[in-house]
Subunit: 353 residues, 4 copies
C-alpha cells in the first residue's frame, strides 16, 4: 500500500446522502486516497458516526458546511449534492480541484433539454461544455484528461452498457427501444418520503415517473451520440419501478433487431466490446443476470436472449445502483483522472447472500 | 349467514400448496361453503395445522390422499395439483362434481400447443373441449353454465384484463405487445428450490424463463380469440421477473396504439368495460397501480399512461397473484357456477401496510 | 347482514395513521357499522383514496379537520391521535358518544406515572378515572359498560395475555420478568423518520428504547393490578427491537417459576383460561408461535417452553400489532360496548404466505 | 500486494455452503492467499460460477469431491462441512496441513456433552484435545500456535464477546444469563427447508430450538472456563429467533449485576478489554448496536445499558453471522496461524445501506 505522502486528498460534498456514504465506504479502503473534507449542510458539526454509524471508528473528519470548506485542502471532490445546487458550487472551485459530479447537473449537453427536464435554466453552461460524460467503458480517454466528469445516472449506466454496443454497431433499431427498469429503494435517496418507508415500500412493487423520468433524455442523448444519430432518430420508452430491496438495479431492454441481424451477432459484439473490461461481464448463454450477483461490487453483468417473436430480443443488465451506478463508477473515473490503476479500491467481490 | 343445510360442500385437491392454502383461507369465511375434503398426497394423514399453522383451530378435515377421496361428499372441487396430473384425476370424477381447475391443464385449447409447452401429450382433450376459460370478467356467462372451469394463470389474468379491452376494440397493435411482468415469490410455489430460499431471493431481482414462459402462449391464445384474430396475428414478448416480496404481481405492458388512436380512447374503453366490475378498478389519471393496493384482496387495479414517444402507451395492472391471480378468481367463478352473489367470500379489503 | 338502518355510526379521529387505516379496513366489512366521520388535520380535504390508495372505491367520506367534526353524526369514535392530544379532544365530546382510544392517554391510572413517562401533566384525569383498560379477554365485563375504553399498547397486549394468567395464579415470580419484544415497522407509525426508511430498516435488526420504553410501566401496572400486588412488587425488564417486516409482534418472556411450580402447571393454566377465547390460541406442546400465523387477523398465538435451567421457562406470544395489538382489539371492544357478537368484523383468517 | 510465490495455498472443504462462499469472497481478496482447492461432494464437477454466480469470472478452481483432493496442494484448509463429517476427514489429513474448522465438531471439550447434543459419539477426541477454540480476541496466543482451530458458532461469538469480559471480572452473575438471540436466514444454511423459503420466512419472526439450541452448552463451556468456574456454576437461558434478513445477528443479553457493581464498571471493563481490538467496537453511551452497522464486515459492535430495575443491565452485541460469526473470524485466525497481520483480507467497511 502506498504511504500517505503519496496519497491524493479527496473531499465529498453532500456526504450525508447515500452516494456520499458509499463514496466514503470505497475511499476508506483506497490505498491512494485520503479523505480530508466532508460537507453536509444540514448535518454540519456532526461526526460521521452520528450520521452513518457503520462508518464510525475510522477517524474520518466531521461534517462541515460547504461554505466553510477549504478548497486548497483537496485534489478532487465528489459532488453528491442535489440537482441544481451543484453547478453553482462547482463554478466557484479553484481550477486545480478536479470534480467528479454525481448529480445530474452536467449530464445533459443541451441547455434547453436541461431546462425542460429539470425545471430551471442551467447556470453554468460554460462548465458543461468542458464536462466529460463519465460512462467509463465508453469514454475512457476523455475521462483521463477531464477536469470535470459528469457521472451518468444509475439507470443510464446499466442501460447504456447494454445498448451502446448494439446501436453503435447497427444491430438494433434505435427507434424501438423499450426499457423496463427496476431499482432498489436506495435509488430514491435518503430524504424522508412516505413512499420509501419500510412499511409502504416493503412487500410491494411500484412503478413511478412513467414516461416522465429524467433519465430518458439522458439515455437518448448518449445513444444518439454514440451511434452518430440525431436525437430524433432515437426513441426510448422508459418505465422505472421501485423494488423492495435496498440496492440493485436491473434493466430489461426489449429491442428489435436491425434487418437481417441475429442474436448471435449481438452476443458476439458484446463479447468483443467487453472482453477486457474489468467490471463488465457477459454471462454464459442462457444465464440470467440478477442483482444478487453484483451487490456491493462495481460489476455489471449482462446477457442477451432471443425472443420467440422473430426479430426481437431481450437484453438484461444488472448493477448495484450505488456502486457501478454511482459512487463506484465515480471512483473508477477518479482512478483514470489521476493515473491510477482503474480498479484500485474497487476490488470488492459481490456480497451474496 | 346461511345455515349449514344450505351450504355446498367443497373439496381442495392439492391443499398443501399455496393456492390450496389460499382457497382454504377464503372458503373458511364463505357463508355458503363447507370444506369437507382436503387432499395432499405427500401430507396425507396430517392435520391442517401441521401443514399450515395459521389455519389451525378452524376444525378443518385432515389431509388425505387423493385416492382415498369420497367424491360423493363434494359438490365442487378446486384442483391445485401440479400441471399434468390434474387431467387424469379430473377425468375420473363423477359428472355431478363441478371442477374449478387452478392448474394449467385445461387452459390451452390446442393439443399441439399444450404438448409443445408442457412437454407431454394431453390426456383428456375431450374434457378440454368442454372447459371454460375462467377469466371471469370476460367469460361470465359461459362460467355460469360450466362444469369445468380452467382458471387462468396469474400472469395471464393481469395481462388479459389489461389487454383484452384494447385489442378487442382495435385500439392497439396486437403484433407489438411487450409484457414485462413481475411476481412475488409465492408465484414460484411451495416446492423446495434453492432460488426461492429467503437468502437467495431476498434483496435481489431475478428475471427468469425469458421468452420461454408458458403463460405467453396462453396470453396469445386469449388475445387472438377475443379479437377474432388468428394466432399468427398476435405477438407477445413476455419477460417475467421474481421480486423479493411474497405476494403481488404487476404487469407493465408496453403497447403501440393503432393508427389514429389516442390514450384518451384507451381510458374511455377501460372506463366503459369495467364500470360495473366489482373487482377491477381503473385508477384516476396519473395514479400508479401498485401491488400494495391489492394484497390479500381479489381486486385488480390498472391504469394507462401516454408515452413521450408518439404512438406508444404503457398499461400497468396489479393483482395479488394468490387471490385474483388464482384462488380468489376461482371462488369468484364458483360463485357464478352455483348462482351465488359473485362477490361472496371475497369482500376482504386489501391488507396495507 | 343487518340493514343499514340498524347500523351504528362510527368515526375515526386520526384516520391517516396506520391504526386509522386498519380501523377503516376492519370497519368497512363490519355488518353493523357505518363509517361516517374521518378526521386527519394535516390531510383535511383529501379523499381516502389520496391518503390510502388501497381504500379507494369504497365510498368513504373525505378526511376533515377534527374541529369541523359533527359529533352528533357518530355513536362511537376511534381515536388514533398522537399521545397527549387525545385527552383534550375527548374531554369536549358529548357524553352520548362512546370513545375507544388507541392512544396512550388513558392507559396509566396514576397521574404522576403518566407525567413521568409522557413528559407532561395529564389534562383529563377525571375522564381517566372512568376509563376502562381494554384488554378484552381480562376486562370483558367492564368494557361492556364503559363509555371510554383505553386500548392497551401493542406490546402490553401480547405481554399481558402471556403473563397475567401466570402471575395471577402465582405461578411465576413477578419480580423477575424479562421481556424481549420484537415488532414490525408499522409499530413505529407512518411519520417520516430516517430509521424507518426501507433502506435503513431493511435487512437489519435494531433494538431501541432499551429500559426506557413507555410500555414497561403499563405492563407493570396491569400485572400488579391483576395479581393484587403493589407496583413495587413487579419488576419488568423490557427491551424492544424493530424487525424488518411491516406487521407482526412477538414477545419472548423469560420467566422464573414460583417455588415448586412446573411448566405443566403453566400450560394447564393457559388451557383453562383461554379455552373459550375466540382470539387466543394455545399451541400444541412444542409448537412455536410465529408472527406469520396471525398476520392480518385478530388472533394471538402463544406457547410455553421449559428451559434447560431448572426453574426457568420461556413464554412466547405473537400478534399482529395493527390488529389484536391495536385496531382489531378496538373493534372487539366496540362489539362488547354495543352488545354485538364479540367477533363481528374480525373473522378474517390470517394472511399467509 | 505480495507476489504469488509468497502466497500460501488454501482449500475450502464444503465450498458450496454459505460459509464456503463467504470464505471464497474474503480469500479472493486476501493478498497472501491463493485458493487452490474447493470441495463440494454434491456439486463435484461444477464450476464455481454454476454454484455461486456472483463468484464467476475470478478463475477459481472447479468443485471436486473431497475424496479427490490432493492434500499436498494446500497449506491450510477451511472446513465448512456438516457437523459430524468433519472429524473423520480431518483425522486423515497430513499433519502439515493446518485446519480451520467452521463446523461444531471440535468446539465442545467434553465427549459426553458432545454426544448428548450432537446425537452421536465423537470420533476424534484425540484431535479435539489439541484443538484451540478460535474466539480470536480471547485466545490469540493459542491460535497462533495451533494446528487445528475450532471456530466458535455464530451465536457464541457474539455472546462470548459480550459476556466473557463481564464474567471474568466478576461483574455479573453467571447463574442468571438470559440470552435472547436473533439471526438472519443465512444462519440456517443453504439446505432446502420449507421454513427458510422466502414466502415462509419473509414478513415474519420465528423463534426456534427454544432451550434446545446446541450453542447453549458451547457458551456455558467457555463462560465457565474463562471465569474459572465449574460448568454447574454457569446458567444460560438461550432462545434464538429467525429474523427476515439474510445476514446479521444480534444478541440481547439480560444480565444481573454482581453485588455492588454498576453499569459504569461494565462499560469501563469493555473499554479496557477492547481498546486495541481491530474488530470490536464499544459504541458511545446510549448508542444502539444494530446489525446494519456490520453487514459484510468482520466487526462486532456492542454496548451496555442500565435497566430501570436496580441491579439489572442489558448488553447488546451485533455481528455479521457469516463474517465475524464464521468465515471472517476464520480468516482472522488464519492470519494469526501464518504470522500475517491479523486484519489482512478483512478490511472491508460494512455495507450500508
Amino acid at each position: 500500500m502506498s504511504n500517505s505522502t503519496q496519497k491524493i486528498k479527496a473531499g465529498i460534498l453532500g456526504a450525508s446522502g447515500y452516494t456520499g456514504a458509499e463514496a466514503m465506504r470505497l475511499l476508506l479502503r483506497h490505498p491512494n486516497v485520503e479523505l480530508t473534507l466532508l460537507t453536509a449542510d444540514r448535518k454540519a458539526g456532526l461526526s460521521v458516526e452520528e450520521v452513518y454509524p457503520h462508518l464510525g471508528g475510522y477517524g474520518l473528519p466531521d461534517m462541515i458546511s460547504v461554505k466553510d470548506a477549504d478548497w486548497n485542502s483537496v485534489d478532487v471532490v465528489f459532488c453528491g449534492l442535489p440537482h441544481g445546487t451543484t453547478q453553482e458550487i462547482i463554478a466557484t472551485l479553484p481550477a486545480t480541484v478536479k470534480v467528479i459530479d454525481l448529480s445530474a447537473d452536467f449530464r445533459l449537453r443541451n441547455a434547453d433539454t436541461y431546462a425542460e427536464w429539470y425545471g430551471h435554466k442551467h447556470m453554468a453552461m460554460t462548465l458543461q461544455a468542458g464536462a466529460v460524460y463519465g460512462l467509463t467503458e465508453f469514454n475512457r480517454d476523455a475521462v483521463k484528461d477531464a477536469r470535470l466528469v459528469a457521472c451518468p445516472g444509475c439507470y443510464p449506466t446499466a442501460t447504456l452498457i447494454a445498448l451502446l454496443p448494439l446501436v453503435s454497431a447497427g444491430l438494433v433499431d434505435p427507434q424501438d427501444l423499450v426499457i423496463d427498469a427496476k431499482s432498489g429503494l436506495t435509488g430514491a435517496g435518503r430524504g424522508l418520503k412516505q413512499n420509501t418507508l419500510f412499511s409502504e415500500a416493503g412487500e410491494g412493487l411500484s412503478p413511478y415517473s412513467v414516461a416522465k423520468h429524467r433519465h430518458a433524455p439522458e439515455i437518448e442523448q448518449e445513444v444518439a451520440l454514440s451511434a452518430g444519430l440525431s436525437d430524433a432518430d432515437v426513441r426510448v420508452n422508459f418505465v422505472p419501478h421501485l423494488v423492495p430491496m435496498s440496492r440493485g438495479e436491473l434493466v430489461t431492454c426489449h429491442v428489435r433487431l436491425a434487418a437481417g441481424k441475429t442474436v448471435g451477432e449481438l452476443r458476439a459484439e458484446y463479447a468483443k466490446i467487453f472482453q477486457n473490461e474489468p467490471f463488465v461481464r457477459l454471462l454464459k448463454e442462457g444465464d440470467m443476470p440478477q442483482t444478487q450477483m453484483v451487490r456491493g461490487s462495481n460489476n455489471c453483468v449482462l446477457n442477451v436472449f432471443e425472443d420467440r417473436i422473430p426479430g426481437r430480443a431481450t437484453v438484461i443488465a444488472a448493477i448495484d445502483n450505488l456502486v457501478k451506478g454511482s459512487s463506484g463508477q465515480a471512483v473508477q473515473n477518479m482512478n483514470l483522472m489521476f493515473g491510477f490503476d482503474e480498479t484500485l479500491g474497487l476490488e470488492q467481490v459481490a456480497l451474496f447472500p
